[in-house]
């Protein structure tokens, strides 16, 4: 059975490219465009992994990540943070909050796919 991936970003063009990329790799994909929607989709779609943008309206990626980690039901959910702000403090903050991996925009599609696969244990 295919792994489920939730893509969360407020930039439509980035969502389009990520969605296409992940579907091509054979994952089942859902999309959310802000923090609140992301939390709702986690509950309804039950993804295995989440690609989470940091700078978003309503709830930032950090807030979403914190909310998810506060709930023990989501312990198995893997979170990859995506940010266009490349500062070290952002990376450190994301990992401290409970993200499993961190990618800086713009990212290499190969690297992102490799990272997602290794995290899900598919090779």
């Amino acid at each position: 059975m295919a792994h489920k991936i939730l893509i969360v970003d407020d930039e439509p063009n980035i969502v389009i490219s990520l969605e296409f990329l992940m579907k091509k790799e054979g994952f089942e994909v859902a999309v959310a465009t802000d923090g609140d929607e992301a939390l709702a989709k986690v509950a309804s779609f039950a993804p295995d992994l989440m690609l989470l943008d940091v700078m978003m309206p309503k709830k930032s990626g950090f807030e979403v990540c914190e909310a998810l980690r506060a709930d023990a039901n989501n312990a198995s959910l893997q979170i990859v943070m995506l940010t266009a702000k490349g500062r070290d403090t952002e990376v450190a903050k994301g990992l401290a909050i409970g993200a499993d991996a961190y990618m800086t925009k713009p990212f290499s599609t190969k690297e992102l796919v490799a990272k997602v696969k290794s995290m899900l244990g598919v090779c």
Binding site: P12, A84, T109
Partner: protein, 903 residues
């Protein structure tokens, strides 16, 4: 029935206890464990309360009512001036002052003349007071022995003489027990404090006995007094005597510090300046307690002895005796004895020190009768013992001679008025550097003469010793010179009259003569050190003012002669230790040592004699007045420098604070710049992310479906455009902010700008189905501006509007108007509107309004900030008026050129 022998025995036992207390105090002082605490010090001040208080207050209250209180209000007020007394104590410690005569003499250039003068005034003024104490003891004995065998003593020996003799012996034992004649006597202070407790307890005991034992308490007494017209007067404050009250308060306030015994106790015997703080409230409390029963006793006595002959001064004895309470009467007698002996012992010691140091020593030193003698400390003790005996003998003679001439209170006030003469020279010396020796001598002599003429001699005349014509008719029959109505000033009581004239003459002469005389070098130096004692507390200044040569042997010899060999060497060792040497023989005979030797001698023989002795063994160079003033001035300059330094460091501190604030602002700016760069980075990376991801996928998958391929390439193109636009706007913004933007200013018709902008965006509006309407006036004044920049603003506002209104139903309206000062352009829409917060936020960089996902790539978040920069550059304003749900109205103004610019 009380036997004379029994009373004598009791008195002797009491004196022996006193002596034991003193021995204990001395032993503890020798062991370095002083028993002089703040409480002991405060209690010892109560030596102020003599037998005059003990017996006389009641007597005074029977005639003057509440006015007896003045004698206690004055000291209370004086003690409140803690600063003055503290300064006196500090000066005395620094200069090792031994008496009030020494104090005044030292201030005015260590003058032997002044020291002698003050001593003579003190002795003449105070001997009657000592006589008064003897009289009190004698009177109290008479009352106790009224009915017993008055002739228990042989005819040649009367009881008062016996008591005077006993007092002399005890005073000698108390005050001159030590072979070294230094200025402090801790044992004596302890004994005096003990006596203060005894007399207070005795007085309270008789007060309680009379008030509650013989009468029905305080209210009963006062009610009875109020019922009788004669006694009721005692309870009233008599306003016609206000002048007397003022004079009495002043007089007693001065007496509390200038009576030789008070100066001795408060200043010389003070071991710790902080003790004064306790005394300031404890001593007034003591006075209050000892006065509580004065009025009840006076009223009780007057009620009890109504219609019989009585002596109000002995009510405290006769009242208990009338009820047969002999034990209480004996306690009261001991209390009175305490009051009298305490006063006599301290007063006599203080006077004998003054007589020895300031009268006898100068005479001996001048007549060089003591040249050969090796150890003079025994001689010093001998002189003091002789002086004690002599003073008491004088007191006894005065007592015998004066007899019943005067009531007790009269003599006490005469003494007070005599020592009040020290006030101008003392206070002036402490606070006025211009006061000179000549001024002090003139003031003291003048004041003393007036006191003698208006107070002491009239009291002699009243005793019948001299004719009283100078009182009745005036000297040489001149009415203006009547001793108690000088220059026609009558209507005052004799004490107020004498105090007024003597202090006026004293103060006047002191000031006038001081202003017209010049001090010599020693005097100017002392004046500086007294007045500024808190600055010159180190010895540095002292040693710099001395220049000359001295021999170690001669100085040591001098010390050994006056202090005794043992004490001299002990003091030298202490001094050597302070200077870091173990053996004093290795000390250099420099200015420090000379100064030390002089201070030690001053403690033993007074500052004036010490000065004479030291200058006799050291070859001193004369230092001129100018030079002394220069040296002292240097000290002043050093102080000025340190003040300057203080000010500098204050400035530095301020500068540091300012720097810190600037630094803080810089850090904020730095953080803002950081945030800005971080935001710009984010804005640049976002389109790059899509471009890179999509290009990589196209690149890797050549067989991608044509539809996807087209769609992706479309996105890549639009994202590249967005990126370009963003970079252009950032550069534009940077130019505007740094002021490097290029401006082509010319006359512009704003209507053209509006029309062109509307035309160029017409297509965009039609595509979205948004209605665009304009409202332009017939004519419009020209403005000075950059046409292209204004168009940029206009297009920005219009494209914002079309972006946020709904398709098909959206409406955007442009309105142009002008008045005398400016052109105003409004762009209003019927979009979602803005909250009050958003109305400010949207003008910040990279902050976009709404959450419109659809059009997001169109905005950079820099349009409005750039537009505002442009409008403000032309001197106008750009703002928005909006409410949520009510559409938004963006308005900007461009000012018209001023009249002069138009021409």
């Amino acid at each position: 029935m009380l036997s004379g022998w029994f009373i004598l025995l009791l008195s002797t036992v009491y004196m022996a206890i006193l002596f034991a207390v003193a021995r204990f105090g001395d032993a503890r002082a020798d062991a370095g464990k002083s028993i002089i605490s703040a409480n002991v010090y405060a209690l010892s001040l109560a030596v102020y309360c003599t037998s005059w208080t003990f017996y006389g207050s009641v007597g005074r209250a029977t005639s003057g009512g509440l006015s007896f209180l003045t004698i206690y209000i004055g000291p209370t007020l004086m003690l409140l001036m803690t600063g003055v007394i503290l300064k006196m104590i500090r000066i005395s410690k620094v200069h090792r002052i031994t008496s009030i005569a020494d104090f005044i003499a030292s201030r005015y250039g260590k003058s032997q003349l002044l020291a002698g003068l003050v001593t003579i005034i003190a002795v003449i003024g105070v001997v009657p007071y000592i006589a008064l104490q003897l009289k009190a003891i004698s009177a109290s004995l008479d009352v106790l022995l009224l009915d017993s065998d008055a002739g228990f003593l042989p005819w040649w020996l009367d009881s008062t003489f016996l008591i005077a003799g006993l007092l002399a012996v005890f005073t000698i034992l108390f005050g001159t027990r030590h072979l070294d004649a230094t200025e402090r006597h801790e044992g004596m202070v302890a004994a005096v404090a003990f006596e203060s407790v005894v007399k207070l307890l005795a007085f309270l005991a008789v007060g309680l006995f009379v008030t509650y034992g013989m009468f029905g308490g305080l209210s009963d007494l006062f009610q009875r007094a109020a019922a009788s017209p004669e006694l009721g007067r005692l309870l009233q404050l008599d306003s016609s005597r206000a002048g007397t009250w003022t004079a009495m308060i002043l007089l007693s306030g001065l007496a509390i510090i200038f009576l030789p015994r008070q100066f001795q106790i408060i200043v010389v015997e003070n071991v710790n300046e902080s003790h004064l703080k306790r005394a300031v409230w404890l001593f007034p409390l003591y006075l209050l307690l000892i006065n509580i029963f004065v009025l009840p006793l006076a009223i009780g006595g007057l009620l009890h002895f109504q219609g019989q002959p009585f002596n109000a001064d002995t009510f405290v004895l006769t009242l208990p005796l009338s009820r047969g309470a002999e034990g209480l009467a004996l306690l009261v007698f001991i209390g009175g004895l305490s009051a009298a002996t305490g006063m006599v012992i301290v007063e006599t010691i203080a006077l004998s020190t003054m007589v020895c140091n300031d009268l006898v020593m100068p005479w001996l030193l001048r007549s060089s009768r003591i040249g050969a003698s090796k150890d003079l400390s025994r001689l010093l003790i001998g002189i003091r013992r002789a002086a004690i005996t002599l003073i008491l003998l004088l007191g006894y003679i005065y007592f015998r001679a004066a007899g019943e001439a005067y009531a007790l209170v009269g003599i006490g006030l005469i003494s007070f008025a005599a020592v009040a003469q020290f006030a101008p020279a003392m206070f002036g010396g402490m606070y006025w550097k211009q006061g000179t020796r000549a001024g002090a001598v003139a003031g003291l002599l003048g004041g003393f003469a007036v006191w003698l003429y208006t107070l002491l001699l009239p009291s002699f005349a009243r005793s019948g010793w001299i004719g009283n014509s100078f009182v009745e008719q005036g000297l040489f029959g001149i009415a203006g010179l009547k001793a108690q109505a000088l220059f026609g000033m009558s209507g005052l009581d004799e004490i107020s009259h004498s105090l007024w004239w003597s202090l006026l003459v004293n103060l006047g002469l002191y000031i006038i003569v001081s202003l017209n005389s010049r001090p010599d070098a020693v005097e100017a130096g002392q004046a500086e050190r007294f007045v500024d004692v808190f600055r010159h507390s180190t010895q540095e200044t002292d040693t710099r003012i001395w220049r000359g040569r001295a021999s170690m042997d001669e100085l040591v010899n001098l010390l050994e002669r006056f202090l005794g060999p043992a004490r001299a060497q002990q003091q030298l060792s202490i001094f050597a230790n302070e200077r870091g040497t173990t053996n004093w023989r290795n000390l250099p005979a420099d200015a420090d040592l000379v100064h030390f030797a002089e201070a030690q001698l001053a403690g033993a023989i007074g500052s004036a004699s010490a000065r004479v002795m030291v200058s006799s063994v050291a070859q001193e160079e004369e230092i001129g007045l100018e030079e002394v003033l220069d040296i002292l001035d240097e000290a002043t300059q050093v102080r000025a420098y340190s003040r300057e330094l203080e000010a500098k460091s204050q400035e530095l501190e301020e500068a540091t604070t300012e720097l810190r604030a600037v630094n803080e602002r810089l850090r904020e700016l730095d953080k803002m710049k950081d945030d800005f760069i971080s935001t710009v980075t984010h804005e640049l990376r976002t389109p790059l992310t899509s471009i890179r991801a999509l290009s990589e996928m196209l690149h890797e998958d050549p067989r991608m479906e044509l539809n996807d391929r087209k769609r992706f390439l479309g996105i890549i193109v639009s994202e590249t455009e967005r990126l370009t636009r963003l970079i252009n706007q950032i550069l534009d913004m940077a130019k505007l902010e740094s002021g490097r933007a290029e401006w082509t200013t010319s006359e512009v018709d704003v209507r053209d700008v509006v029309r062109e902008s509307m035309d160029s965006l017409g297509q965009l509006f039609r595509e979205k189905g948004v209605a665009l309407s304009g409202e332009l006036p017939e004519t419009c004044p020209l403005v000075m501006a950059d046409r292209d920049r204004l168009t940029q603003v206009m297009i920005n506002l219009l494209s914002n509007a079309v972006k946020f209104v709904a398709g098909e139903t959206g409406k955007v309206h442009v309105r142009l108007s002008a008045d005398d000062e400016r052109v105003r352009i409004e762009v209003s829409d019927n979009g979602p509107g803005l909250t009050a917060d958003e109305c400010t936020v949207i003008f910040e960089k990279f902050r976009q309004g709404g959450n419109t996902m659809t059009d997001k790539p169109q905005g950079t978040g820099l349009g409005l900030p750039i537009s505002r920069q442009i409008v403000e550059y032309f001197g106008g304003n750009l703002w928005v008026e909006s409410e949520p749900g009510a559409g938004a109205n963006f308005i900007f103004t461009v000012p018209l050129p001023g009249p002069e610019e138009q021409q």
